[in-house]
């Protein structure tokens, strides 16, 4: 395998595959190496138990940039969306529940039962968020500007965003700047009075963060999750075959452009000399050389472990060490012999087609965070569950179902214990809390798999279990991403680029870092 490539991409996550496809489409000779047996990274669908297929990392592809779908012709490569009528369902106990629907009218009607005033303003809330989300999506497509005094070209690109922002109107533009650094709790308090609605909407504002919904900047995360959506909850898109189908379509597109895709091949080192990347060395000792190397792996791992600390300046090491990864999400995957009945869903399975959210109030979420702050997983965690098999019969045997629970907060660093001890306790807790609303759940469970932040690190290569390759707090966004001073997807090693979620704009199945990094490489070669 030691022939030369134009570009080598490390890791086969969806952002790497996006980069590979863009590079190959532009005529470059590209190879990608994924250490696991399957592609997708945190955007994978895996058969954990015979006949049962689960989204083991991220559970939704709603943030995928429309540009990526169009540029790479993903629809022709098998990407197909399923219609889910519900966005999110919150069982509230005592026969009560709250559902947000794709159909705004239906949501408003349902909200009316909880609060007249909330029902009235909800449409305005969704409009504002959609406008802000659209602006964030524009920003997601650009390389962040350098803070050096000179590079005008990048600043000019961002002028496009400024013009777009101005189109919001002066008042809304000001509002955009006011809202981004707010806490989600405060933002939601300004709009709504229903405790249940605020809990439901706020549950996603702490995605990938070791922070509570009161923390400044969680309003940004709330809006980031709504890029390209209009429903007021989260951008949601269900791919036929699971999230892994997005990765599969990307791989298929990349393959069609001539890229070489290797799975089960681990990169041991990035070869570099005099501060310039030459290629990679695989675990079997073979060396593969290329003009440029792109890494979809997390940036600290890429530089410290793969390039080697001895090749980095102390100032770079300091910045890498200061990077806050903060993995704090675990997941629990259940193979079920039947569909669970939620005591509050009037046996209406339509409600269960979106997220099932256990986060009855913002204080509940904040208290869940309080535990994590002191190094424990939440005694009363935020749960976001999905039953993908309800819409997609290919994921489970006939009449049986898959249920995946995302649990917050499960901090990577535990005090006074370790994940070896806590793993199954966490699984029990997730099932117990969900069972409070779906009493028959336990009896339906055939198999269970718990994935802790430590498992995400060991098995998925996510440092500290951070699916976003670094917490997306205000201090780690845009030009502060992946670490301050790394501009244009470059690293201090010439010819080595970062194309993963650690780079701007960040995490989620967006394809944006992969696309942006590839475009940067194409511009520079």
């Amino acid at each position: 395998m030691s022939q030369d490539f134009d570009a080598i991409v490390i890791g086969g996550g969806h952002n790497s595959l996006t980069a590979v496809a863009y590079l190959a489409k532009a005529g470059m000779k590209v190879a990608v190496f994924e250490q696991r047996g399957l592609l997708g990274g945190a955007a994978s669908t895996e058969e954990l138990f015979p006949g049962f297929r689960f989204n083991t990392g991220l559970s939704d592809a709603g943030l995928l940039l429309p540009d990526v779908i169009d540029d790479l012709g993903l629809t022709a490569h098998g990407l197909d969306w399923l219609e889910a009528p519900a966005l999110a369902f919150a069982p509230l106990g005592a026969e009560k529940s709250l559902t947000l629907w794709q159909d705004l009218g239906r949501t408003t009607e349902e909200l009316g039962q909880h609060s007249k005033s909330d029902a009235q303003v909800f449409a305005r809330y969704t409009q504002q968020n959609a406008a802000f989300g659209a602006l964030l999506q524009e920003m997601a497509k650009l390389a962040p500007p350098s803070l050096q005094y000179k590079p005008l070209p990048l600043l000019l690109a961002w002028a496009k965003v400024a013009i777009r922002a101005r189109r919001l109107g002066g008042r809304r533009m000001m509002e955009f700047m006011r809202v981004l650094p707010m806490g989600a709790a405060r933002y939601l308090d300004e709009w709504f009075e229903s405790v249940a609605l605020k809990g439901l909407l706020g549950a996603v504002s702490v995605s990938g963060l070791l922070q509570g919904p009161r923390a400044a900047g969680t309003a940004f995360m709330l809006l980031y999750q709504q890029m390209g959506s209009t429903g007021g909850y989260m951008a949601m898109k269900t791919a036929q075959g699971g999230v892994g189908a997005v990765s599969a379509a990307l791989a298929s597109a990349a393959g069609s452009y001539g890229a070489e895709i290797h799975t089960g091949v681990r990169v041991a080192h990035i070869l570099s000399e005099n501060g310039k990347a030459l290629g990679v060395e695989l675990v079997d000792g073979s060396q593969v050389l290329a003009k440029v190397v792109l890494s979809g792996a997390e940036v600290r791992h890429t530089l410290v472990d793969l390039v080697g600390a001895s090749k980095l300046a102390p100032s770079v090491m300091r910045r890498l060490r200061a990077l806050k990864l903060r993995g704090s999400t675990a997941s629990v995957h259940l193979a079920l012999s039947g569909l669970p009945k939620f005591s509050t869903s009037d046996n209406d399975n339509e409600r269960l087609t979106g997220d099932i959210v256990i986060c009855p109030s913002l204080d509940y979420a904040e208290q869940a965070y309080d535990d994590a702050k002191y190094g424990r997983f939440s005694a009363r965690p935020i749960l976001i569950a999905r039953i993908p098999s309800l819409l997609d019969s290919t994921l489970a045997p006939d009449g049986e179902h898959t249920l995946s629970i995302t649990l917050r907060y499960a901090p990577y660093h535990l005090r006074g214990s370790d994940w070896g001890n806590e793993k199954e306790r966490l699984g029990d807790l997730a099932v117990k809390v969900l069972s409070e609303h779906a009493p028959g759940l336990k009896k339906l469970i055939k198999q269970r798999k718990v994935i802790t932040p430590l498992d995400y690190e060991r098995d998925y290569g996510l440092t500290e279990g951070s699916m976003m390759h670094g917490q997306m707090s205000l201090d780690q966004l845009v030009m502060m991403r992946p670490v301050p001073g790394f501009v244009g997807y470059r690293t201090p090693i010439e010819g080595l680029y970062i194309n993963g979620a650690g780079a701007h704009p960040g995490g989620g199945v967006t394809g944006a870092p992969g696309r942006n990094a590839a475009r940067q490489v194409l511009k520079e070669i």
Partner: protein
């Protein structure tokens, strides 16, 4: 304004001038700096322009900080660089080395940011050439700092104080005590993003050109107000106390004067309110006279108070368990901030509407430096306390006030064993009391949280950060305007400059 030749009248509701910057003899013979208690942020150009030293302003240095620890140990830092180095070294050699560099970097950052304390915020949404020019100047100033310093600035604007400090230090008492500057006056914990900015805000101090020095005003903080008032009088301004303003009179969108609480009417072409925006816009005016968007912004303006104050009159000097007897440490600040978790737990309780049973307390003894504050041999002790949330989950502040005072005294007694025996008088001020006494809505000592969404061109409301209001001739000049709270004088100065500029047109 008086210095520029305007005929100016000040109307104060209380019998004393100063607002939150007052000294009062609440207990015979003992003078408390009742609310704000230390000074550092007062702008040097104001001291100079108004010749405050001539009018009696004397700032006495506060040069040390002592952090007593529960195990009887302590961390002591003072102006002796090497003594401080050795003290920190007992906890961590690495921290002792980093301390100097940290101080220099913060000094640089504070100086860089100080630039914005002296300018009126531009309107970033305006296409007016003047505003674009202001924006360009601002951009030039900050880009001129260079990438590294800009990154640090972004971190300071967005991070939590504890996490920011953890990039420099490892020893808990040091991180906790430094990070406490990031929570003062805000409803944030040391791990809440945004508190690093408040930390920086407290580094912007400058007294007589000496940077980052905290001090007492002679005679208490009221001494500052008295000096400013005396200077204003010398320029011809008139001051009336016991003269509460009931409403601002307007005609055809133009201000025409004020109506006092006693019904008297006073005419003026210009009225300036230093009250918080809720009072400035919603109480003194009929909100119907204002655009809806402004009324909404003002209603949503976060003025949630989180701090309390306990003032004690003492029969003798306090005796610390960690450093018994008299000593230079009593002339500085004593900070009850043993570790970050301690502060964070104090915040956790407050988040859900309870005062902290084990609060963060910043103690100073003004009488140790200025003997006129108390009778010979006796002392006044000022305790600034967090957290005391304005809105209690159970009960009201009048019911909870003394329990809160007890929590403070009990906590302090763990470090100062003789404290309970020497207390002659105790004054407890909750955010509710602060609101009742000096009118700060919500009892917020900064007239509104210093959060990113309430700073600079967003302070106090988007589109109204230029000290003007929709009513011609009506202006705002309080801490709720840029650059915010603390004894800075800056909002007042910037507002006066804008008013004088309008007068020229």
């Amino acid at each position: 304004m008086a210095r520029a030749g305007k005929k100016v009248l000040v109307l104060e509701k209380r019998p004393v001038l100063g607002g939150a910057t007052v000294s009062e003899e609440v207990y015979p013979g003992f003078r408390y700096s009742v609310f704000s208690y230390v000074v550092s942020l007062l702008r040097p150009e104001i001291i100079r322009d108004l010749q405050l030293p001539k009018h009696g302003l004397t700032i006495l240095p506060l040069e040390s900080t002592l952090t007593p620890l529960p195990d009887g140990d302590y961390l002591y830092r003072d102006s002796d660089k090497w003594a401080t180095y050795r003290n920190i070294q007992r906890f961590s050699a690495r921290d002792a080395d980093a301390y100097g560099e940290y101080g220099r970097d913060m000094y640089f950052m504070a100086k860089a940011v100080k630039y914005i304390l002296g300018i009126r915020p531009p309107d970033p949404t305006s296409l007016h050439p003047g505003e674009l020019l202001r924006l360009a100047k601002l951009g030039k100033h900050f880009l001129g700092l260079g990438a590294d310093k800009l990154h640090m600035l972004v971190k300071l604007m967005t991070m939590s104080s504890a996490e920011f400090l953890e990039e420099w230090f490892e020893s808990d008492p040091l991180i906790a005590t430094l990070s406490s500057s990031g929570i003062i006056g805000t409803f944030l914990g040391p791990r809440s993003p945004g508190s690093a900015y408040v930390l920086l805000h407290h580094y912007m101090g400058e007294i007589d050109g000496v940077f980052r020095a905290w001090g007492f005003a002679k005679g208490g903080t009221g001494g500052i107000s008295e000096a400013i008032a005396s200077s204003a009088r010398a320029f011809g301004a008139e001051m009336r106390t016991d003269s509460g303003v009931a409403e601002v009179a307007i005609r055809n969108g133009q201000v025409k004067g004020v109506v006092l609480e006693n019904g008297a009417e006073i005419d003026a072409d210009i009225v300036v309110s230093s009250l918080d925006p809720k009072l400035t816009f919603l109480t003194l005016l009929n909100p119907e006279e204002l655009p809806n968007e402004l009324v909404d912004s003002v209603r949503g303006f976060d003025t949630y108070g989180s701090s309390g104050k306990v003032n004690l009159a003492l029969d003798a000097a306090p005796d610390l368990a960690c450093l018994p007897g008299l000593g230079p440490h009593l002339r500085g600040a004593i900070s009850i901030s043993p570790n970050v978790d301690y502060l964070e737990r104090a915040y956790d309780q407050a988040k859900y509407g309870q005062f902290s049973e084990k609060p963060y307390i910043d103690v100073v003894l003004p009488s140790m430096i200025d003997p006129h504050m108390a009778p010979p041999g006796k002392h006044v002790m000022s305790c600034f306390v967090q957290y005391a949330p304005y809105q209690l989950n159970e009960g009201t502040w009048p019911e909870q006030r003394e329990a809160f005072g007890d929590a403070v005294v009990n906590t302090l007694s763990e470090y100062i064993p003789n404290l309970k025996k020497i207390i002659l008088h105790r004054q407890v001020l909750s955010p509710w009391d602060i609101e009742q006494t000096i009118g700060l809505s919500g009892g917020n000592i900064f007239q509104g949280e210093l959060s990113l969404s309430q700073l600079f061109f967003l302070r106090p409301a988007p589109g109204y950060a230029d000290y003007r209001t929709p009513i011609r001739g009506y202006y705002q000049c309080g801490s709720a305007t840029h650059p915010g709270g603390g004894i800075t004088g800056a909002p007042g100065r910037l507002a006066a400059l804008e008013i004088l500029k309008d007068g020229k047109l």
